[in-house]
């Protein structure tokens, strides 16, 4: 069995797994952005919360992904076998790049610009929404791009706890010692990552202010 014939024979199944994989990534990224960006905005003026949030997010990132999936299984409500657990783990993984880039983007602004904004009589919330956020958006998007690529990769391991997706082929291929089956999962996952990288990279360049 060559990889090609396996691809052709199982195209419907591969396509379905790709769709599942993509859904997993999109759901996880939606939560990670919904948590990471506002939290990044919140910690700009709160040093204590900043250390806690960035510290926790860094810790999650250091836990090997397979172990993180394992740790979550026994936890009530969010744990168990299946997609929900996988999404929680993916969100925790994606959080750090988004949180960190949001914070770095919002604080890495020319001090002269912020001083002028304050001296012109802008309130802190006007400075945040009209100055910091527009100037930080390319950096924030770079964080989202990094997180998306990490999530697409880590999501393959989510198959180990029954979340489906392209990892299913990879684990099955490893068990069967079949390159063709492994590639049926690995190639679409790689293509998804490349496509996401190109798309978000293009968006990032468009948002960049010269």
């Amino acid at each position: 069995m060559t990889p090609w014939t396996f691809f052709v024979d199982h195209r419907a199944e591969i396509l379905e797994a790709t769709a599942n994989h993509l859904t997993l990534v999109i759901i996880a990224m939606t939560f990670a952005i919904a948590i990471g960006v506002p939290l990044g905005m919140l910690i700009v003026h709160r040093p204590a919360l900043r250390n806690l949030a960035l510290g926790l997010a860094s810790i999650f990132q250091t836990i090997p992904s397979l172990a993180l999936f394992g740790f979550l299984i026994p936890i009530p409500f969010i744990g168990g076998i299946g997609r929900r657990t996988a999404i929680v783990a993916l969100v925790l993984y994606a959080l750090l790049p988004i949180l960190r880039n949001t914070y770095v983007g919002l604080t890495g602004i020319d001090p002269a610009v912020l001083e002028a904004a304050e001296a012109m009589g802008m309130t802190q919330s006007q400075i945040l929404w009209r100055v910091r956020l527009p100037l930080a958006r390319a950096v924030i998007l770079a964080g989202i791009r990094t997180a998306t690529i990490i999530t697409i990769g880590v999501a393959t391991i989510a198959a180990a706890i029954g979340a489906g997706g392209l990892g299913t082929f990879i684990f099955r291929g490893v068990a069967m010692v079949s390159d063709a089956v492994i590639l049926a999962g690995a190639i679409p996952a790689a293509l998804l990552a490349i496509a996401a990288d190109l798309l978000l990279g293009w968006l990032e360049r468009r948002l960049k202010i010269a």
């Binding site: 610009v113 001083e115 001296a119 012109m120």
Partner: protein
């Protein structure tokens, strides 16, 4: 032109009453100490001093970017700590060395910042932007829709001045606005601004370390050294004051004098 010449003893619009400002770090440090002076309406007061003499600190105490740790700063009749900082600052123009223009705004949007915060209607804002661009010597048709990165240093400072004047504030604070420009552009902007300041009749507090600039623009010069006032004089009197720091500054005007002595 209604050339407004301010009477010398008009009601002061800014008053420093025994103002001290310090940092309470592990090693407490006093930046400015027991500062007393007042600025009359329409006056151009130049705060002169070396780096670290406390002149920028005094400027920031006026628009409440800093709050005194002792004494009080009275602006337009009320102490700055009593003012709502937002209201206080909207009535005070502020120009800094790096201009601090918003890179994501066009020139017109930058100038219209305070009018937009004050919710002026579009027609009034537009005509004000055009008026100000003309005032600072930039053709509105050419410059209004440019972004700050498409401007030269001198043009950026012109826009910075226009932005500060947008809502016609009675007070203008300027922190070495021409300090980062090349000598030719600097001289050009100093001359133009000197004429503009006389025409506008605003109360101006101008920070610089350049005596030549101080003599050109000031109606009064205050010299600071390590957070204290050591001279307060008109530009005519200033060079004749007998103080080592004044001599150090006047010597800077003629760089070769020392070599000949």
């Amino acid at each position: 032109m209604n050339a407004k010449t301010a009477p010398e003893n008009a009601d002061p619009t800014i008053q420093f009453q025994s103002v001290t400002y310090g940092l309470n770090g592990s090693v407490p440090r006093t930046i400015v100490n027991d500062i007393r002076f007042s600025v009359a309406a329409g006056q151009t007061l130049v705060l002169l001093g070396r780096s670290g003499s406390g002149k920028t600190t005094l400027l920031k105490l006026i628009n409440r970017l800093l709050v005194p740790t002792g004494g009080q700063v009275i602006v337009r009749g009320s102490p700055t700590i009593v003012w709502d900082p937002i209201r206080l600052r909207r009535g005070i123009g502020y120009v800094i060395q790096d201009a601090g223009l918003f890179p994501h705004f066009t020139v017109a949007q930058n100038i219209a910042l305070v009018p937009s915060l004050e919710k002026w209607d579009a027609a009034r804002t537009n005509s004000r932007v055009n008026e100000l661009l003309t005032l600072v010597g930039l053709d509105p048709a050419e410059f209004a829709s440019r972004r700050p990165h498409e401007l030269s240093g001198g043009q950026r400072q012109r826009v910075g001045v226009a932005r500060a004047l947008a809502a016609d504030p009675p007070i203008l604070l300027m922190d070495e606005p021409f300090g980062a420009l090349d000598p030719v552009t600097r001289a050009e902007l100093q001359r133009e601004f000197s004429a503009l300041a006389r025409r506008l009749g605003k109360t101006i507090v101008f920070v610089t370390h350049d005596l030549r600039e101080a003599l050109l623009l000031a109606s009064r010069i205050i010299l600071l050294q390590t957070g204290r006032i050591i001279a307060d004089a008109t530009p005519q009197e200033f060079p004749h004051i007998d103080h080592p720091e004044v001599r150090a500054f006047t010597a800077s005007l003629t760089p070769l004098a020392g070599a000949q002595a």
